[in-house]
């Protein structure tokens, strides 16, 4: 009976996390299209519901009622598994994101490693989808985006090391609390820029949206997908974007901490600060989509391997030597 109670309790907590995330993914798609529209002097979706807020729900309904077509020569189990994996991994990672000091599903010791591991698993949904379609264009697209994601993961990992050197703990709440006096965006500003651009590439956002360069490369790994399965890829992608924004705000923007610990700011509840920072980063993502032209593939690879990787490695050495010289290495036992 006791087990049953804990089980129901846990399921309740998980639903309380997952459903708001799904709703906010829908809203974020609307925001993305709206910002994109405004930058191009259009209105964007504004018909369904107030300000067009229900546009994504209408789209989702359309996807649900479309037929799921599985190509005859596709590898059926893997073909069906691929969007499920993408979607699940994008949602599972949210388990460790702290919305305040106590409001977190699972406050584990190695939170940042968990996030990194889950985001590096995300590449499988894409490879599996592209390969199982058994068709040239999805396969080429899958290889393209897998190579891109693997390349940029390396520099994200090294950026995380930069932050960890200053914190001395892998726990996400510790990382946030270590920024109480100074957000890491100030001392590690170049790393924040590199992280932001790598996050764009990692989530296949413009200007690095070569995996689905619809105009010149016949879309990507999701070419053969239709109906709800395509929608799951797409939802997973946006959930990943939100996750990257959350990661950026935890690592650099002080997570759920207010900007300054003074009267009108510190009475605002912590989750609001976290959500506000995530939205701010997402707004930057949306603006970038509207104002930057697409990269060429070799430029993308060059940027990842020849610019970001050496730069972030050098910055690790700089951070480490700075901390060592001024005797600021974290010594606390968390």
């Amino acid at each position: 009976m006791e087990y049953l109670n804990t089980l129901i309790n846990e399921i309740y907590k998980i639903l309380f996390l997952v459903i708001p995330i799904l709703v906010s993914v829908a809203m974020i798609v609307w925001l993305d299209r709206r910002v994109w529209g405004f930058v191009q002097k259009r209105r964007g979706p504004n018909v369904v519901g107030p300000f067009g807020l229900f546009q994504t729900l209408a789209d989702a309904l359309k996807y649900i009622f479309k037929e799921i077509i599985i190509p005859a020569s596709a590898n059926k189990p893997i073909f069906i598994l691929a969007p499920i994996i993408t979607m699940t991994l994008a949602l599972v990672a949210w388990a460790v994101i702290p919305l305040s000091e106590t409001l977190v599903l699972s406050d584990i010791n190695v939170g940042i490693l968990y996030l990194f591991a889950i985001s590096s698993l995300g590449v499988y949904g894409i490879i599996m989808g592209g390969w199982a379609s058994n068709s040239k264009y999805p396969f080429l697209g899958a290889i393209r985006s897998a190579a891109q994601m693997v390349s940029y993961e390396v520099s994200i990992g090294i950026i995380i090391i930069n932050v960890l050197l200053c914190v001395g703990s892998l726990n996400l709440n510790d990382i946030v609390l270590a920024q109480k006096n100074l957000w890491y965006v100030i001392p590690l500003f170049p790393m924040f820029i590199v992280f932001f651009i790598s996050a764009l590439a990692e989530t296949n956002r413009p200007p690095f949206d070569l995996p689905e360069a619809e105009a010149e490369l016949v879309a990507g790994y999701q070419t053969e997908y239709s109906g709800m399965m395509y929608a799951m890829f797409w939802l997973g992608e946006y959930a990943n974007i939100l996750l990257m924004c959350a990661m950026g705000s935890i690592l650099f923007l002080g997570g759920w901490l207010p900007p300054l610990d003074i009267y009108p700011l510190n009475i605002v509840p912590a989750p609001f600060w976290m959500i506000f920072k995530i939205l701010f980063l997402f707004f930057l993502f949306a603006i970038i989509k509207a104002i930057v032209p697409r990269y060429r593939y070799d430029q993308l690879m060059r940027l990842g391997w020849k610019v970001f990787l050496p730069f972030s490695l050098i910055y690790v050495v700089l951070t480490a030597s700075f901390l060592l010289y001024f005797d600021k290495l974290p010594k606390g036992s968390f």
Binding site: L121, L170, S333
Partner: protein, 209 residues
């Protein structure tokens, strides 16, 4: 404890099942997928033991990087076509070498499991102090970067050497390939890119020289 036992048996059965499927699966790509499943379930077992750092590193390194390369190779080279000659052909040379390797690994396992009996002696003779109050990430760090720093750096250098070696082996300078140079493309300006030419009637001009 009951939940712990259920999860332990779930993950260990999954690990053994997928390990078996790796070697019996008919399609090579499927066996790589089962290998990934195996890595993931072993990672979960690590986490259940309390070695969460090792579990996560296993996920990041093996599943996130090594297995992706495996998949790339298997998918691109189409290894699946060669599978018939392994068992049916008369001149198979893989089975004896495979047997030797598996017997060696089996013997090593025997030594490890047999050595478990003398665990107390080894623990008491070692001068490592096991502190249970710090997280295992901290304890791994404090052992690896103090007592074993030389071995750690040595293995890093070996990895670097093998990386350089692999690049040298595969690198070849190709002739007659048009490459795009960033410096050239960015530093172009109007004076060097646009030339005004007087074209003679009925003769045209020669471009591209």
């Amino acid at each position: 404890m009951l939940a712990h036992a259920i999860f332990f048996y779930f993950f260990s059965i999954l690990a053994i099942f997928s390990a078996l499927m790796v070697i019996t699966s008919r399609s090579t790509v499927n066996s790589v997928f089962f290998l990934i499943l195996d890595f993931i379930s072993v990672g979960c077992l690590f986490i259940m033991v309390g070695a969460e750092f090792l579990g996560m590193i296993l996920l990041i390194v093996y599943v996130g990087a090594v297995a992706v390369l495996f998949l790339f190779v298997v998918m691109m080279l189409n290894v699946a076509q060669q599978k018939q000659s392994w068992f049916i052909g008369q001149k198979s040379t893989h089975i004896p070498s495979g047997l030797i390797v598996s017997v060696l690994i089996f013997l090593e396992l025997l030594v490890v499991v047999g050595g478990w009996k003398y665990k107390e002696n080894i623990m008491s003779s070692s001068n490592l102090v096991i502190d249970t109050s710090v997280t295992n990430t901290h304890s791994i760090g404090s052992v690896m970067y103090t007592d074993y720093i030389l071995y750690f750096q040595l293995s890093g250098i070996i990895l670097l050497l093998s990386m350089v070696g692999a690049i040298i082996l595969t690198y070849r300078k190709r002739e007659n390939v048009k490459t795009q140079s960033y410096i050239k493309q960015i530093s172009r300006d109007k004076s060097s890119a646009v030339i005004l030419k007087d074209v003679e009637f009925n003769k045209g001009v020669k471009i591209d020289d």
